[in-house]
Amino acid sequence: MALSLSERQKAILFAAVLIPAIGGLYATTQLIQPAPVQATTVDFVRLDIGGDGWSIHYGPTNTTNNTAFGLLLEASKALSFSVRWSNWTWPAGVLVTAINGAANGLDDRFWQYWVNGRCGNVAADREAIRSGDEVLWNFTVITCG
């Protein structure tokens, strides 16, 4: 004999399946969010920016902008060049879209960053830097996965 459910019972059953599924997926999204970086002072960090036929170098003695993005913004203010970016909530972080007028996508090149030669694999404002680190922002074809 087939089980016959009323619309109300079907609605309750539907909600009983859907709400835990949404909760589980939401919990997963929170787990995969990159952690924010606590501001601390770092010394003798170096920033190099390689653009389309130009380069910029910046090396503060110390700074509290201890992320790859924070250092870039500090340099842009100190050396008067433009940086454009978009802010994301999910996944949390920034995406740099143009530096000094060179925009992502031009000739299939994009802004990517490295810290001590290692490709950044999180948003630049979630990549902590330490004293003595070297940060490179390069406008090139995508090489970081």
Partner: protein, 207 residues
């Protein structure tokens, strides 16, 4: 000639109820996406597309996703990706728009089975999960071809990078499809009942 065009428009756009709901669906998609602009892959447009096809049908299957994208694309590229070069934008946009059109058409195939019933909402919600995955794979083709292929990235790598975004997208579908679906099927069938009741009352008054 004019009456032929008018007849075609009436057939394609449906009655006033369908037209009002179609415009409302576009508004929900646009306002919803603007409110969630900084949340990658939370896509009210996906839900609007599947509901346009499954509840409204007719030309709304195409009009809703197209209209929403035509309004949103300049805003999204301007605010989220300022400075992106035009050829990258054009290529990726083609895959996004055709992806939503596919979702609308898939919804259209479900239309005979959709009513204001829990079973219909459950069907729409369930089907939205594999459709979300198919949509994401399709747009990944565009991302790979226009953004990553020249760098030597394999399509497999692109799919791997897509995984967390697909999690966001499935979450979005599970929230918006039943939510919009319940609201619009209710409005669609409730307005039909109100109209039928009104017509019956008019006939009773006339006789």
């Amino acid at each position: 000639m004019t009456s032929r065009w008018k007849a075609a428009l009436d057939r394609g756009l449906g009655d006033r109820r369908s037209r009002a709901l179609g415009i409302l669906l576009i508004a929900f998609a646009v306002i919803g996406k603007l409110a969630l602009l900084s949340y990658a892959n939370l896509e009210p447009i996906f839900a609007a597309s599947i509901i346009a096809g499954s509840v409204l049908g007719r030309w709304w299957t195409v009009i809703v996703p197209l209209a929403a994208m035509l309004i949103l694309e300049p805003i999204e590229w301007g605010s989220l990706y300022p400075g992106y070069a035009l050829d990258a934008i054009g290529g990726v946009t083609f895959f996004v728009i055709t992806g939503f059109l596919f979702v609308g058409i898939a919804g259209r195939r479900l239309r005979p089975r959709v009513a204001f019933r829990v079973g219909s909402l459950a069907l729409l919600t369930s089907i939205s999960v594999p459709l979300t995955i198919v949509y994401d794979v399709w747009t990944d083709v565009g991302d790979w071809y226009f953004l990553l292929r020249h760098a030597g990235e394999s399509f497999g790598t692109v799919l791997e990078m897509q995984i967390p975004f697909t999690v966001y997208h499935i979450l979005s579908s599970l929230i918006f499809v039943p939510l919009f679906g319940a609201a619009f099927t209710f409005l669609h069938y409730h307005l039909a009942e109100v109209r039928a009741t009104g017509e019956d009352a008019q006939k009773a008054g006339a006789s």
